[in-house]
Protein backbone atom coordinates (compact mmCIF):
# COMPACT_ATOMS: atom_id res chain seq x y z
CA UNK A 1 0.00 0.00 0.00
CA UNK A 2 2.96 2.32 0.52
CA UNK A 3 4.45 1.29 -2.82
CA UNK A 4 7.67 0.05 -1.27
CA UNK A 5 9.74 -2.54 -3.14
CA UNK A 6 9.90 -5.71 -1.05
CA UNK A 7 11.19 -9.20 -1.62
CA UNK A 8 9.43 -11.91 0.34
CA UNK A 9 11.65 -14.73 1.59
CA UNK A 10 10.55 -17.84 3.45
CA UNK A 11 12.90 -19.26 6.03
CA UNK A 12 12.39 -22.08 8.48
CA UNK A 13 14.30 -20.32 11.24
CA UNK A 14 12.55 -17.01 10.71
CA UNK A 15 11.30 -16.90 14.31
CA UNK A 16 14.86 -17.27 15.59
CA UNK A 17 16.28 -14.65 13.25
CA UNK A 18 13.78 -12.08 14.45
CA UNK A 19 14.94 -9.77 17.26
CA UNK A 20 11.69 -10.24 19.18
CA UNK A 21 11.06 -13.87 18.32
CA UNK A 22 8.06 -12.98 16.19
CA UNK A 23 7.52 -12.90 12.47
CA UNK A 24 7.26 -11.05 10.14
CA UNK A 25 10.37 -8.96 10.19
CA UNK A 26 12.05 -6.80 7.60
CA UNK A 27 15.72 -6.63 6.83
CA UNK A 28 16.79 -3.24 5.47
CA UNK A 29 20.47 -2.52 5.01
CA UNK A 30 21.91 -3.45 8.38
CA UNK A 31 18.69 -3.00 10.33
CA UNK A 32 16.19 -5.63 11.35
CA UNK A 33 12.74 -4.62 12.52
CA UNK A 34 10.03 -7.06 13.54
CA UNK A 35 6.25 -7.03 14.06
CA UNK A 36 3.70 -4.74 12.46
CA UNK A 37 3.83 -1.89 15.00
CA UNK A 38 7.58 -1.29 14.88
CA UNK A 39 7.69 -1.84 11.11
CA UNK A 40 5.03 0.83 10.61
CA UNK A 41 7.04 3.20 12.85
CA UNK A 42 10.25 2.42 10.98
CA UNK A 43 8.66 3.02 7.58
CA UNK A 44 7.14 6.24 8.91
CA UNK A 45 10.54 7.44 10.09
CA UNK A 46 11.80 6.93 6.55
CA UNK A 47 9.04 9.17 5.25
CA UNK A 48 6.23 6.80 4.23
CA UNK A 49 3.02 6.81 6.19
CA UNK A 50 -0.56 5.88 5.46
CA UNK A 51 -2.14 7.51 8.50
CA UNK A 52 -0.69 11.04 8.43
CA UNK A 53 -3.93 12.45 7.11
CA UNK A 54 -5.95 11.29 10.12
CA UNK A 55 -6.80 13.62 13.00
CA UNK A 56 -6.14 12.64 16.62
CA UNK A 57 -9.57 11.14 17.24
CA UNK A 58 -9.35 9.07 14.06
CA UNK A 59 -5.88 7.88 15.02
CA UNK A 60 -7.26 6.79 18.39
CA UNK A 61 -10.03 4.89 16.63
CA UNK A 62 -7.60 3.26 14.25
CA UNK A 63 -5.36 2.08 17.09
CA UNK A 64 -8.39 0.81 19.01
CA UNK A 65 -9.61 -1.26 16.05
CA UNK A 66 -6.11 -2.64 15.49
CA UNK A 67 -6.08 -3.81 19.11
CA UNK A 68 -9.49 -5.38 18.62
CA UNK A 69 -8.12 -7.42 15.72
CA UNK A 70 -5.08 -8.44 17.76
CA UNK A 71 -7.13 -9.20 20.83
CA UNK A 72 -9.84 -11.26 19.15
CA UNK A 73 -8.85 -12.44 15.69
CA UNK A 74 -5.21 -13.17 16.36
CA UNK A 75 -5.95 -14.94 19.62
CA UNK A 76 -8.74 -16.96 17.98
CA UNK A 77 -6.39 -17.97 15.17
CA UNK A 78 -3.77 -19.08 17.69
CA UNK A 79 -6.43 -20.95 19.67
CA UNK A 80 -7.68 -22.77 16.62
CA UNK A 81 -4.22 -23.67 15.47
CA UNK A 82 -2.82 -24.82 18.77
CA UNK A 83 -5.60 -25.57 21.26
CA UNK A 84 -8.18 -27.35 19.11
CA UNK A 85 -7.16 -31.00 19.18
CA UNK A 86 -8.49 -31.87 15.74
CA UNK A 87 -6.65 -29.05 14.00
CA UNK A 88 -3.45 -29.58 15.96
CA UNK A 89 -3.28 -33.25 15.17
CA UNK A 90 -4.16 -33.05 11.51
CA UNK A 91 -2.59 -29.86 10.34
CA UNK A 92 -0.57 -27.71 12.71
CA UNK A 93 1.93 -30.22 14.06
CA UNK A 94 2.79 -31.46 10.60
CA UNK A 95 3.01 -28.02 9.09
CA UNK A 96 5.06 -26.45 11.89
CA UNK A 97 7.51 -29.33 12.06
CA UNK A 98 7.84 -29.87 8.32
CA UNK A 99 11.15 -28.05 7.74
CA UNK A 100 12.93 -30.10 10.39
CA UNK A 101 14.16 -33.67 10.57
CA UNK A 102 12.85 -36.13 13.12
CA UNK A 103 12.80 -35.80 16.16
CA UNK A 104 13.19 -32.04 16.01
CA UNK A 105 9.89 -31.61 14.20
CA UNK A 106 7.94 -33.17 17.07
CA UNK A 107 9.89 -31.46 19.83
CA UNK A 108 9.56 -27.98 18.38
CA UNK A 109 5.88 -28.43 17.63
CA UNK A 110 5.12 -29.58 21.17
CA UNK A 111 7.18 -26.77 22.63
CA UNK A 112 5.30 -24.18 20.61
CA UNK A 113 2.00 -25.75 21.57
CA UNK A 114 2.91 -25.62 25.24
CA UNK A 115 3.91 -21.95 24.96
CA UNK A 116 0.68 -21.00 23.23
CA UNK A 117 -1.42 -22.89 25.77
CA UNK A 118 0.35 -21.09 28.62
CA UNK A 119 -0.43 -17.77 27.02
CA UNK A 120 -4.08 -18.67 26.51
CA UNK A 121 -4.37 -19.62 30.15
CA UNK A 122 -2.78 -16.36 31.29
CA UNK A 123 -5.26 -14.22 29.39
CA UNK A 124 -8.29 -16.23 30.42
CA UNK A 125 -8.90 -18.14 27.17
CA UNK A 126 -7.77 -21.45 28.64
CA UNK A 127 -11.28 -22.51 29.57
CA UNK A 128 -12.99 -21.33 26.38
CA UNK A 129 -14.67 -23.84 24.14
CA UNK A 130 -14.39 -23.75 20.37
CA UNK A 131 -17.96 -22.44 20.12
CA UNK A 132 -17.20 -19.54 22.42
CA UNK A 133 -14.11 -18.69 20.40
CA UNK A 134 -16.14 -18.75 17.17
CA UNK A 135 -18.71 -16.49 18.80
CA UNK A 136 -15.95 -14.03 19.69
CA UNK A 137 -14.74 -14.10 16.08
CA UNK A 138 -18.28 -13.41 14.94
CA UNK A 139 -18.57 -10.45 17.31
CA UNK A 140 -15.27 -9.08 16.07
CA UNK A 141 -16.28 -9.46 12.41
CA UNK A 142 -19.60 -7.81 13.16
CA UNK A 143 -17.82 -4.83 14.71
CA UNK A 144 -15.41 -4.58 11.75
CA UNK A 145 -18.27 -4.91 9.28
CA UNK A 146 -20.25 -2.16 11.01
CA UNK A 147 -17.24 0.13 11.12
CA UNK A 148 -16.43 -0.47 7.44
CA UNK A 149 -20.04 0.04 6.31
CA UNK A 150 -20.18 0.81 2.60
CA UNK A 151 -16.81 2.55 2.43
CA UNK A 152 -13.98 1.11 0.34
CA UNK A 153 -11.51 1.32 3.25
CA UNK A 154 -11.90 1.88 6.99
CA UNK A 155 -11.04 5.55 6.72
CA UNK A 156 -12.88 6.11 3.51
CA UNK A 157 -10.82 6.63 0.38
CA UNK A 158 -7.28 5.83 1.51
CA UNK A 159 -6.07 2.59 3.06
CA UNK A 160 -4.24 2.73 6.36
CA UNK A 161 -2.33 0.20 8.46
CA UNK A 162 -5.70 -0.90 9.89
CA UNK A 163 -6.80 -2.00 6.41
CA UNK A 164 -3.53 -3.87 5.98
CA UNK A 165 -3.95 -5.63 9.32
CA UNK A 166 -7.58 -6.58 8.76
CA UNK A 167 -6.80 -7.79 5.24
CA UNK A 168 -3.93 -9.90 6.51
CA UNK A 169 -6.06 -11.71 9.05
CA UNK A 170 -9.26 -12.08 7.04
CA UNK A 171 -7.46 -13.24 3.91
CA UNK A 172 -5.58 -15.86 5.91
CA UNK A 173 -8.76 -17.07 7.56
CA UNK A 174 -10.56 -17.26 4.23
CA UNK A 175 -7.84 -19.05 2.31
CA UNK A 176 -6.28 -21.44 4.80
CA UNK A 177 -7.60 -24.97 4.66
CA UNK A 178 -8.58 -26.26 8.10
CA UNK A 179 -10.38 -29.33 9.32
CA UNK A 180 -13.68 -27.49 9.17
CA UNK A 181 -14.94 -24.36 7.50
CA UNK A 182 -16.55 -22.84 10.57
CA UNK A 183 -14.03 -20.05 10.99
CA UNK A 184 -14.11 -18.88 7.40
CA UNK A 185 -17.90 -19.18 7.36
CA UNK A 186 -18.04 -16.63 10.17
CA UNK A 187 -16.18 -14.13 8.02
CA UNK A 188 -18.18 -14.96 4.90
CA UNK A 189 -21.37 -13.96 6.69
CA UNK A 190 -20.31 -10.36 6.20
CA UNK A 191 -20.43 -9.48 2.53
CA UNK A 192 -18.75 -6.10 2.88
CA UNK A 193 -15.73 -7.74 4.53
CA UNK A 194 -15.50 -10.24 1.63
CA UNK A 195 -15.71 -7.43 -0.90
CA UNK A 196 -13.04 -5.54 1.06
CA UNK A 197 -10.61 -8.47 0.89
CA UNK A 198 -11.31 -9.02 -2.78
CA UNK A 199 -10.74 -5.37 -3.56
CA UNK A 200 -7.37 -5.27 -1.81
CA UNK A 201 -6.27 -8.55 -3.30
CA UNK A 202 -7.10 -7.38 -6.81
CA UNK A 203 -5.72 -3.92 -6.41
CA UNK A 204 -2.47 -4.63 -4.63
CA UNK A 205 -1.57 -8.21 -5.34
CA UNK A 206 -2.97 -9.42 -8.62
CA UNK A 207 -1.93 -6.29 -10.48
CA UNK A 208 1.69 -6.94 -9.59
CA UNK A 209 1.57 -10.40 -11.11
CA UNK A 210 1.88 -12.19 -7.78
CA UNK A 211 -0.60 -14.94 -8.43
CA UNK A 212 -1.57 -16.03 -4.96
CA UNK A 213 -4.62 -18.20 -4.44
CA UNK A 214 -7.73 -16.15 -4.90
CA UNK A 215 -10.51 -16.16 -2.35
CA UNK A 216 -13.03 -18.92 -2.72
CA UNK A 217 -16.57 -17.67 -2.74
CA UNK A 218 -19.00 -20.48 -2.13
Amino acid sequence: MCNLPIKVVCRANAEYMSPSGKVPFIHVGNQVVSELGPIVQFVKAKGHSLSDGLDEVQKAEMKAYMELVNNMLLTAELYLQWCDEATVGEITHARYGSPYPWPLNHILAYQKQWEVRRKMKAIGWGKKTLDQVLEDVDQCCQALSQRLGTQPYFFNKQPTELDALVFGHLYTILTTQLTSDELSEKVKNYSNLLAFCRRIEQHYFEDRGKGSSSIRLS
Binding site: N70, A122, I123, A143, Q146, G149
Partner: protein, 248 residues
Amino acid sequence: MAAPLELSCWGGGWGLPSVHSESLVVMAYAKFSGAPLKVNVIDNTWRGSRGDVPILTTEDNIVSQPAKILNFLRKQKYNADYELSARQGADTLAYIALLEEKLLPAVLHTFWVENDNYFTVTKPWFASRIPFPLSLILPGRMSKGALNRILLTRGEPPLYHLQEVEAQIYRDAKECLNLLSHRLGTSQFFFGDMPSTLDAYVFGFLAPLYKVRFPKVQLQEHLKQLSNLCRFCDDILNSYFRHSLGDG
Protein backbone atom coordinates in the same frame (compact mmCIF):
# COMPACT_ATOMS: atom_id res chain seq x y z
CA MET B 1 -35.98 -8.89 37.58
CA ALA B 2 -37.24 -9.34 41.09
CA ALA B 3 -34.57 -11.89 41.94
CA PRO B 4 -31.89 -10.31 44.10
CA LEU B 5 -28.58 -9.79 42.35
CA GLU B 6 -25.58 -10.14 44.61
CA LEU B 7 -22.12 -9.08 43.65
CA SER B 8 -19.07 -10.33 45.50
CA CYS B 9 -16.11 -8.07 45.00
CA TRP B 10 -13.09 -6.47 46.57
CA GLY B 11 -13.76 -3.48 48.79
CA GLY B 12 -12.93 0.15 48.48
CA GLY B 13 -10.50 2.72 49.71
CA TRP B 14 -9.02 6.09 48.85
CA GLY B 15 -12.48 7.37 47.96
CA LEU B 16 -13.31 4.48 45.63
CA PRO B 17 -16.09 1.92 46.08
CA SER B 18 -13.58 -0.75 45.03
CA VAL B 19 -9.86 -0.74 44.36
CA HIS B 20 -10.09 -3.71 42.00
CA SER B 21 -10.52 -2.72 38.34
CA GLU B 22 -12.80 -5.55 37.30
CA SER B 23 -15.06 -5.17 40.33
CA LEU B 24 -15.27 -1.45 39.66
CA VAL B 25 -16.27 -2.00 36.00
CA VAL B 26 -19.22 -4.13 37.10
CA MET B 27 -20.26 -1.75 39.88
CA ALA B 28 -20.16 1.23 37.52
CA TYR B 29 -22.14 -0.59 34.83
CA ALA B 30 -24.76 -1.58 37.38
CA LYS B 31 -25.15 2.05 38.45
CA PHE B 32 -25.37 3.24 34.85
CA SER B 33 -27.98 0.67 33.85
CA GLY B 34 -29.99 0.89 37.03
CA ALA B 35 -29.43 -2.72 38.05
CA PRO B 36 -30.18 -3.21 41.75
CA LEU B 37 -27.04 -4.90 43.05
CA LYS B 38 -26.41 -5.99 46.56
CA VAL B 39 -22.69 -5.62 47.01
CA ASN B 40 -20.92 -8.11 49.27
CA VAL B 41 -17.45 -6.90 50.02
CA ILE B 42 -14.91 -9.61 50.61
CA ASP B 43 -13.55 -9.47 54.11
CA ASN B 44 -11.30 -11.60 56.22
CA THR B 45 -13.93 -14.00 57.39
CA TRP B 46 -14.31 -17.28 55.60
CA ARG B 47 -17.66 -16.37 54.15
CA GLY B 48 -17.83 -16.26 50.36
CA SER B 49 -15.33 -17.17 47.67
CA ARG B 50 -12.25 -15.27 46.70
CA GLY B 51 -11.11 -16.65 43.42
CA ASP B 52 -12.26 -15.17 40.16
CA VAL B 53 -13.82 -12.11 41.73
CA PRO B 54 -16.06 -10.25 40.79
CA ILE B 55 -18.83 -12.81 40.90
CA LEU B 56 -22.52 -12.21 40.38
CA THR B 57 -24.93 -14.55 42.13
CA THR B 58 -28.66 -14.79 41.53
CA GLU B 59 -31.10 -17.49 42.58
CA ASP B 60 -30.10 -19.86 39.79
CA ASN B 61 -26.89 -18.49 38.33
CA ILE B 62 -23.31 -17.79 39.18
CA VAL B 63 -21.53 -15.58 36.65
CA SER B 64 -17.90 -14.53 36.74
CA GLN B 65 -15.72 -12.22 34.61
CA PRO B 66 -16.87 -8.68 33.86
CA ALA B 67 -17.75 -9.30 30.19
CA LYS B 68 -20.00 -12.22 31.07
CA ILE B 69 -21.58 -10.37 34.00
CA LEU B 70 -22.37 -7.36 31.81
CA ASN B 71 -23.87 -9.67 29.18
CA PHE B 72 -26.02 -11.29 31.84
CA LEU B 73 -27.24 -7.93 33.11
CA ARG B 74 -28.11 -6.87 29.57
CA LYS B 75 -30.16 -10.02 29.10
CA GLN B 76 -32.00 -9.11 32.30
CA LYS B 77 -32.90 -5.83 30.58
CA TYR B 78 -30.37 -3.70 32.42
CA ASN B 79 -28.82 -2.27 29.30
CA ALA B 80 -26.76 0.91 29.38
CA ASP B 81 -26.12 0.74 25.64
CA TYR B 82 -29.60 0.67 24.12
CA GLU B 83 -29.26 4.17 22.77
CA LEU B 84 -25.99 3.47 20.99
CA SER B 85 -25.84 3.02 17.23
CA ALA B 86 -24.34 -0.13 15.71
CA ARG B 87 -21.20 1.80 14.88
CA GLN B 88 -20.85 3.01 18.47
CA GLY B 89 -21.31 -0.56 19.66
CA ALA B 90 -18.45 -1.59 17.39
CA ASP B 91 -16.31 1.28 18.68
CA THR B 92 -17.01 0.10 22.25
CA LEU B 93 -15.54 -3.34 21.50
CA ALA B 94 -12.51 -1.78 19.87
CA TYR B 95 -11.76 0.62 22.73
CA ILE B 96 -12.18 -2.12 25.32
CA ALA B 97 -9.63 -4.18 23.37
CA LEU B 98 -7.31 -1.16 23.42
CA LEU B 99 -7.66 -0.88 27.20
CA GLU B 100 -6.95 -4.56 27.74
CA GLU B 101 -3.95 -4.72 25.43
CA LYS B 102 -2.27 -1.39 26.12
CA LEU B 103 -3.34 -0.14 29.53
CA LEU B 104 -3.97 -3.26 31.57
CA PRO B 105 -0.34 -4.57 31.57
CA ALA B 106 0.92 -1.30 33.05
CA VAL B 107 -1.91 -1.14 35.61
CA LEU B 108 -1.14 -4.72 36.65
CA HIS B 109 2.53 -3.82 36.89
CA THR B 110 1.88 -0.71 39.00
CA PHE B 111 -0.25 -2.66 41.47
CA TRP B 112 1.31 -6.10 41.54
CA VAL B 113 4.81 -6.19 40.14
CA GLU B 114 6.52 -2.90 41.01
CA ASN B 115 8.16 -3.91 44.29
CA ASP B 116 7.75 -0.68 46.25
CA ASN B 117 4.08 -0.48 45.37
CA TYR B 118 3.32 -4.13 45.91
CA PHE B 119 4.99 -4.51 49.29
CA THR B 120 3.93 -1.20 50.82
CA VAL B 121 0.41 -0.84 49.46
CA THR B 122 -1.13 -3.69 47.48
CA LYS B 123 -0.06 -6.69 49.53
CA PRO B 124 -1.00 -5.28 52.96
CA TRP B 125 -4.35 -4.05 51.63
CA PHE B 126 -5.36 -7.39 50.14
CA ALA B 127 -3.85 -9.46 52.93
CA SER B 128 -5.95 -7.59 55.49
CA ARG B 129 -9.05 -8.64 53.61
CA ILE B 130 -8.21 -12.30 53.31
CA PRO B 131 -8.44 -14.73 56.23
CA PHE B 132 -5.25 -16.17 57.67
CA PRO B 133 -3.51 -18.35 56.48
CA LEU B 134 -4.79 -17.69 52.95
CA SER B 135 -3.55 -14.14 53.39
CA LEU B 136 0.00 -15.45 53.25
CA ILE B 137 -0.54 -17.20 49.93
CA LEU B 138 -3.17 -15.46 47.84
CA PRO B 139 -1.57 -12.03 47.33
CA GLY B 140 1.66 -13.73 46.21
CA ARG B 141 -0.30 -15.83 43.77
CA MET B 142 -2.11 -12.81 42.38
CA SER B 143 1.22 -11.07 41.96
CA LYS B 144 2.73 -14.00 40.09
CA GLY B 145 -0.37 -14.21 37.91
CA ALA B 146 0.01 -10.56 36.98
CA LEU B 147 3.71 -10.92 36.17
CA ASN B 148 2.97 -14.01 34.12
CA ARG B 149 0.30 -12.28 32.13
CA ILE B 150 2.59 -9.35 31.39
CA LEU B 151 5.50 -11.51 30.27
CA LEU B 152 3.43 -13.92 28.20
CA THR B 153 1.55 -11.28 26.30
CA ARG B 154 4.45 -8.93 25.76
CA GLY B 155 7.14 -11.07 24.16
CA GLU B 156 8.87 -14.28 24.92
CA PRO B 157 10.70 -14.44 28.26
CA PRO B 158 14.04 -15.74 27.03
CA LEU B 159 14.39 -12.91 24.55
CA TYR B 160 13.09 -10.03 26.61
CA HIS B 161 14.56 -8.70 29.80
CA LEU B 162 11.95 -7.61 32.33
CA GLN B 163 13.25 -4.02 32.23
CA GLU B 164 12.73 -3.76 28.47
CA VAL B 165 9.21 -5.10 28.82
CA GLU B 166 8.54 -2.61 31.63
CA ALA B 167 9.70 0.32 29.53
CA GLN B 168 7.54 -0.80 26.62
CA ILE B 169 4.36 -1.38 28.63
CA TYR B 170 4.56 2.02 30.31
CA ARG B 171 5.14 3.66 26.92
CA ASP B 172 2.08 1.85 25.56
CA ALA B 173 -0.01 2.78 28.59
CA LYS B 174 0.87 6.48 28.33
CA GLU B 175 0.00 6.41 24.64
CA CYS B 176 -3.30 4.69 25.45
CA LEU B 177 -4.14 7.34 28.05
CA ASN B 178 -3.38 10.07 25.51
CA LEU B 179 -5.63 8.38 22.94
CA LEU B 180 -8.47 8.09 25.45
CA SER B 181 -8.07 11.74 26.35
CA HIS B 182 -8.26 12.77 22.69
CA ARG B 183 -11.30 10.60 22.14
CA LEU B 184 -13.13 11.93 25.20
CA GLY B 185 -12.39 15.57 24.38
CA THR B 186 -14.74 17.86 26.26
CA SER B 187 -17.72 15.49 26.36
CA GLN B 188 -19.05 14.23 29.62
CA PHE B 189 -19.06 10.59 28.53
CA PHE B 190 -17.63 8.73 25.58
CA PHE B 191 -20.89 8.58 23.65
CA GLY B 192 -22.77 11.75 24.45
CA ASP B 193 -24.64 12.52 27.65
CA MET B 194 -25.42 9.08 28.97
CA PRO B 195 -22.79 6.68 30.31
CA SER B 196 -22.44 3.31 28.60
CA THR B 197 -20.39 0.11 28.80
CA LEU B 198 -17.26 1.84 27.53
CA ASP B 199 -17.51 4.47 30.26
CA ALA B 200 -17.77 1.68 32.84
CA TYR B 201 -14.61 0.01 31.52
CA VAL B 202 -12.59 3.21 31.27
CA PHE B 203 -13.69 4.23 34.76
CA GLY B 204 -12.87 0.77 36.14
CA PHE B 205 -9.34 0.86 34.75
CA LEU B 206 -8.55 4.51 35.40
CA ALA B 207 -10.07 5.23 38.81
CA PRO B 208 -7.78 2.94 40.88
CA LEU B 209 -4.78 4.28 39.01
CA TYR B 210 -5.94 7.81 39.70
CA LYS B 211 -6.81 7.52 43.37
CA VAL B 212 -4.71 4.87 45.08
CA ARG B 213 -1.64 6.36 46.79
CA PHE B 214 1.50 4.61 45.62
CA PRO B 215 5.19 5.32 46.22
CA LYS B 216 6.10 4.75 42.55
CA VAL B 217 3.72 6.84 40.50
CA GLN B 218 4.96 7.46 36.96
CA LEU B 219 1.75 6.35 35.29
CA GLN B 220 -0.39 8.15 37.84
CA GLU B 221 1.53 11.39 37.22
CA HIS B 222 0.90 11.03 33.50
CA LEU B 223 -2.81 10.44 34.09
CA LYS B 224 -3.08 13.49 36.34
CA GLN B 225 -1.86 15.66 33.48
CA LEU B 226 -4.81 14.56 31.36
CA SER B 227 -7.37 16.71 33.11
CA ASN B 228 -10.39 15.58 31.12
CA LEU B 229 -9.82 11.96 32.17
CA CYS B 230 -9.50 13.00 35.83
CA ARG B 231 -12.65 15.08 35.54
CA PHE B 232 -14.37 12.04 33.97
CA CYS B 233 -13.49 9.85 36.97
CA ASP B 234 -14.42 12.48 39.54
CA ASP B 235 -17.77 13.14 37.84
CA ILE B 236 -18.72 9.49 37.95
CA LEU B 237 -17.62 9.15 41.57
CA ASN B 238 -19.63 12.19 42.60
CA SER B 239 -22.75 11.38 40.61
CA TYR B 240 -23.03 7.64 41.09
CA PHE B 241 -21.04 6.66 44.13
CA ARG B 242 -21.52 9.48 46.57
CA HIS B 243 -23.26 7.35 49.16
CA SER B 244 -21.10 4.30 49.02
CA LEU B 245 -17.57 5.47 49.66
CA GLY B 246 -15.64 2.46 50.85
CA ASP B 247 -13.69 1.85 53.99
CA GLY B 248 -10.13 3.05 54.05
